[in-house]
């Protein structure tokens, strides 16, 4: 396998590179300033009734660049994650920044079922995402399936499930513990079941 130069290169930020980035940023600032100047002039022309179309006010548009092109934003020095990694922080906004569930542990195939307390709407302080989980979990559903249906990261779903478990709104059914194989009869049932598919 070839390793693209630089992407995984570890080590100290070298001085030249920092200097280059600084120069790059200065140029960008200059460019932005002159662009704004140009726009303002243009707008005045319009007000004088001489020429030009009306351009919407508001934030100046930065020239379009291809997504994921790190060179487009040389002042962003995050070699470990680029834009195409998707949102890495925002999902946890809905957990109030919590990344660990307040209670319980949740394997990807642990089964979640909403219980009677949930059906009677006894929860308090629930967010829409909590309610969505309870709605899906009227029938037993695996944690991974919940995350997929809700289009939320697994980590986020675990935190939300921890909240629900803490309030006694769900019951969890855990898969066989690690290192503990299912019984022989289950394995035989699986083999026969697969053959019969």
């Amino acid at each position: 396998m070839t390793t693209p130069p630089g992407r995984h290169a570890a080590g100290q930020p070298d001085r030249d590179r920092v200097e280059r980035q600084w120069a790059e940023q200065q140029r960008a600032d200059q460019y932005r300033a002159s662009w704004n100047e140009h726009r303002n002039e243009h707008r005045n022309e319009h007000r004088d009734g001489q020429s030009g179309e009306l351009e919407p006010l508001g934030e100046q548009v930065w020239p379009e660049q291809r997504r994921g092109d790190l060179a487009a934003e040389p002042w962003v020095d995050h070699t470990w994650v680029d834009r195409d990694a998707g949102p890495v922080v925002r999902p946890y906004a809905m957990t109030g920044g919590r990344v660990h569930p307040a209670s319980g542990s949740f394997d990807v195939v642990a089964m979640v079922v909403a219980n009677r307390a949930a059906l009677q709407d006894l929860g308090y302080g629930l967010q829409p995402e909590h309610r969505a989980i309870l709605a899906y979990a009227r029938e037993p559903l695996a944690v991974a399936e919940l995350a997929s249906h809700l289009d939320l990261a697994l980590g986020v779903v675990r935190v939300l499930l921890g909240d629900l478990l803490g309030q006694g709104l769900i019951e969890m059914y855990h898969p066989p513990a690690a290192g503990e194989l299912p019984s022989e009869s289950i394995l035989k049932a699986v083999i026969n079941g697969l053959r019969a598919l």
């Binding site: 992407r7 994921g68 195939v109 009677r116 997929s148 059914y173 066989p176 299912p182 394995l187 079941g193």
Partner: protein, 194 residues
Amino acid sequence: MDYGRSSRPVPTAIKILVAGGFGAGKTTLVGAVSEIRPLQTEESLTAAGVGTDDLTGVERKSTTTVAMDFGRITIGQDVVLYLFGTPGQDRFWFLWDELALGALGAVVLADTRRLADCFPSIDYFERRGTPFVVAVNCFDDASSYTEGEVREALDLDGHVPLLLCDARDRESSKAVLIGLVEHVLALSTAQSPS
């Protein structure tokens, strides 16, 4: 405190991993046997990924799985199999440990055009002691090797089953899963003769 729950009994969930190199057919195999359209979190391979992913021999693949995708097979009322395609790139290995915990076993898909791609998966499961089978996905344009040749190239332990399959074919993929569960069963009876 026993709250009433829905009428359906809660089935036992069994987790099976599908591993292998980039483009070896993991998603295809999961899709071939799953009863639901595989649920997936995929991100398209962009300019940033070209160069990171070695595309020799798999040029036509336009996206790669960077999170994970999974399928489901319900066996009767009591058991549900979940098949998880493991993230195919080295930089997502951290997801594996969580997945491998409590897994029944794993299918390592091998592509004979790029056999070395599945070495890390085999190493991983050997180290963890997770039961696994190796399934050679027979691509149309791959030259055919005998089972012995592949086994030798992979330096497989004698007891690890090696199967030939076509990941697009449901029956063939089913046979791979059956092979895995039989292997696990054989291991468990060997451990505790009763």
